[in-house]
Symmetry: C2
C-alpha cells in the first residue's frame, strides 16, 4: 500500500498538505486538493485510511434503524433523521440509513462489523431489536423508550405535552376532549411507546378533569383522518375538542369533519400533537400544534450514542423534552348549546 | 484476529452456521444467532469482515449528497432518499447520508476512502461537486442533470411533464398560465437543473400557445406561497391558471389567493408539479398534482451507480421519467369575463 509520502510526491505537495486534505484540518486550494484526491485514488491510498479505522476497531459509522421509512415517512421523523445525520457529521461520524424490516437484515448489521453503534427509532414498549442489540453487545441509543427506562434514550415528554394540550383546550372552555391516535402494524399492547404514553397521559388528564375518555385509532393517512371524523361524530358526538396524535391524518380529519357539517374550530377544536408547525400551516384552517422537539432530540440521541462509544461519562443518558405549543386557528370556544 | 472457526467454537455451532448469520444466507434460530453475534463481538471477529471489504478495495458504502436536507426537506426529496436507501440494501450496499455544505466535508468524503461511490441530489447546471468527483475519480450518479448529458443520471422528464400540465389546463380553456417557481441559494443562471428545465419547458409551451409567459419566483415556504399570490394578482392579473413548481409554497399560494378574494379553482386554477399526491391531498381544495416518480428514480439512480461499480455493462446510464397527473379539485374552467 501507498504511504502518505508517496501521495505527497505524486501530487507535488508537502506531506502536511496531504494531511490537511485528509483530515479536513486546514483549507487547501481547490486545484491542489483535486490533485491530492486524484493521487490518493491512483495510489489506492484510501485503503490506508480505512485500515487505520480498522486498527482502532472503530469504523465511525452509526446505523439509524427505522422499521418502515419508505412508506410515507412523516415530517417529524424526517427532522429526527436529518438532525441525527448532521450531529453525527459534526463529531466525525457517518450515519447509515438502515431500513430494517426483517431479522436477516438485523443479522447483517450486527454481525457485519460495519457499524460502531445504532440509533433506534419507532421504539416499541417491548422491542426485539433492543434485545438483539443487547445480546450482540452493539452500543445503541433510543429515540423513544421501551418499558425499561434504564436504557439510554431521548424521548418526547408526552406526559407534559398532553397535559399542556388539555390545559390549552380547557382554557377555551372545553371539557369533553377526544384523542385520535395512530394505528400501527405492532401487536396490540406493544404499540410504539409514543402512542401508548400519549394515550396513558390523556386518560390520566381526563380522570383529573372528571370527563370520560374517548380514544379513536385510525391509519396515519388522509383516509384515516376522514374515518376519525366519522367515528367522532358517531361514537363521541359530545366531544367538542380533539387531541390529534396522528399527523398523517390531520388534513383528512379537518376535511372529513367539514363534510359532516362540523366546522373547525366552530364545532370542533383540534390540537395536533407531536408534529411540525410547517405541517400545521398547510392545513386550512391552520392547526394549533404542539411542535415536536425533533431537531434537538435527534442531536441529543446521536451525541448520547457517541458519548457511549468514546467513554464520555458526564453526558446525561436520559432526556425528555416536551413539545412546544404553536397556536394556529383550529382552537376556539366550544359551540354554545342552543 | 479471530478466525471463523474460533467464532464457531465459542458459540458452539458449526462454521456453516456462522457463515449463514454473517452473510444472511439462511435463517438461523434467534438464540443461536444471538450467541454467534455475541461471539463475534467478544472475539472482535468483526474486524475480519471489515478487513475483507478492505482487501477487495470495496467498502460497499455509498454516499448520498444533498446540500441542505436539514432545512425543511420536502416530501419528494424524502421519497428519493428512502427509495435509494432501500435499493442500496437490496444489492448489499449501505447508504450514508451526507449533508454536505462546504468543501472541507467534500474533502473528507473524497479522501477518506469510506465510500465506493456517490449519489448527488439537487444537481445544478454547473455543479462544482461533480467536477470534484470527476477529478478525484469517485464513481457517481446524478439525480438530476448538469448541462453535460454524458454523465450518468436519472431525472424527471420536465419537458414532457410541463407540456402535459399545460395541455391539462388548456383542456379546461385556460390560455394565460403563469409559472410559480422556487428561489434557491444558487447563483442566478446556476439554479438546480430541475428549476431551469421546468422554466425553459414552460416558456416553450407558452410560445407554442402564443401567450406571454409570467414567471414568479418565491421561497419554498407558506410565506413564499402568499407572496406568490400577491405577485400574481399584481403582476399577472390576466393569468387564470398557475403551474406551481414549488411544493413548499402550495398551501400559502391557495390561502394567499383566497385572502385576496381569488378562490381556487373559481378564479385561479393550480397544477402543482413534481410533488406527492399526499401533499396535494392535504391542501383545501385538494391540489391537482403531477406526481414525481421519486421512488422509481431513487432506485434507478442507486442501481445505475452500483452497475458502474460492479462493471455491469447493459444498464442504461440515462433515464428520464415524466411526472404522473393525479387530478384533484384545484383545476376548473377559467372565470367567464363579465
Amino acid at each position: 500500500m501507498a504511504t502518505m509520502r508517496e501521495v505527497a510526491e505524486r501530487a507535488k505537495v508537502s506531506i502536511a498538505t496531504v494531511s490537511f486534505v485528509i483530515n479536513g484540518t486546514k483549507p487547501v486550494a481547490p486545484e491542489t486538493r483535486a490533485r491530492i484526491e486524484a493521487a490518493i485514488r491512483e495510489l489506492d491510498y484510501r485503503r490506508n485510511v480505512v485500515a487505520r479505522a480498522l486498527a482502532s476497531s472503530r469504523t465511525h459509522i452509526l446505523a439509524l434503524l427505522h422499521p418502515d421509512l419508505e412508506s410515507r415517512p412523516n415530517a417529524t421523523v424526517i427532522q429526527f433523521v436529518m438532525s441525527a445525520a448532521h450531529g453525527a457529521r459534526e463529531r466525525g461520524y457517518d450515519l447509515v440509513l438502515w431500513p430494517i424490516n426483517d431479522d436477516e437484515q438485523m443479522s447483517h448489521l450486527l454481525a457485519g462489523g460495519l457499524v460502531d453503534g445504532a440509533l433506534l427509532m419507532e421504539v416499541q414498549i417491548h422491542d426485539s431489536r433492543v434485545d438483539r442489540l443487547i445480546a450482540s453487545r452493539v452500543p445503541f441509543a433510543l429515540i423513544g423508550r421501551t418499558e425499561n427506562d434504564d436504557l439510554p434514550f431521548v424521548d418526547i415528554d408526552f406526559d407534559t405535552t398532553i397535559h399542556q394540550a388539555v390545559d390549552h383546550l380547557r382554557s377555551y372552555g372545553h371539557r369533553r376532549i377526544a384523542l385520535v391516535t395512530q394505528r400501527t402494524k405492532a401487536a396490540p399492547g406493544n404499540e410504539p411507546g409514543r402512542i401508548m404514553r400519549a394515550e396513558s397521559a390523556y386518560r390520566e388528564a381526563m380522570a383529573i378533569l372528571g370527563s370520560p375518555p374517548a380514544v379513536i385509532t385510525v391509519e396515519g393517512t388522509s383516509a384515516g383522518g376522514r374515518e376519525a371524523a366519522r367515528a367522532l361524530a358517531a361514537d363521541a358526538p359530545e366531544a367538542t375538542a380533539v387531541i390529534l396524535m396522528n399527523e398523517g391524518a390531520s388534513a383528512g380529519l379537518v376535511k372529513g369533519s367539514r363534510a359532516l357539517g362540523r366546522d373547525v374550530p366552530g364545532h370542533l377544536s383540534i390540537v395536533s400533537v407531536s408534529t411540525t408547525r410547517e405541517l400545521g400551516e398547510m392545513i386550512e384552517p391552520s392547526l394549533t400544534v404542539m411542535e415536536a422537539p425533533a431537531a434537538p432530540l435527534g442531536r441529543l440521541a446521536v451525541n448520547a450514542l457517541i458519548d457511549q462509544l468514546e467513554g464520555v461519562q458526564d453526558a446525561p443518558p436520559h432526556r425528555l423534552i416536551p413539545c412546544t405549543l404553536v397556536p394556529g386557528q383550529s382552537v376556539g370556544p366550544p359551540p354554545s348549546r342552543t
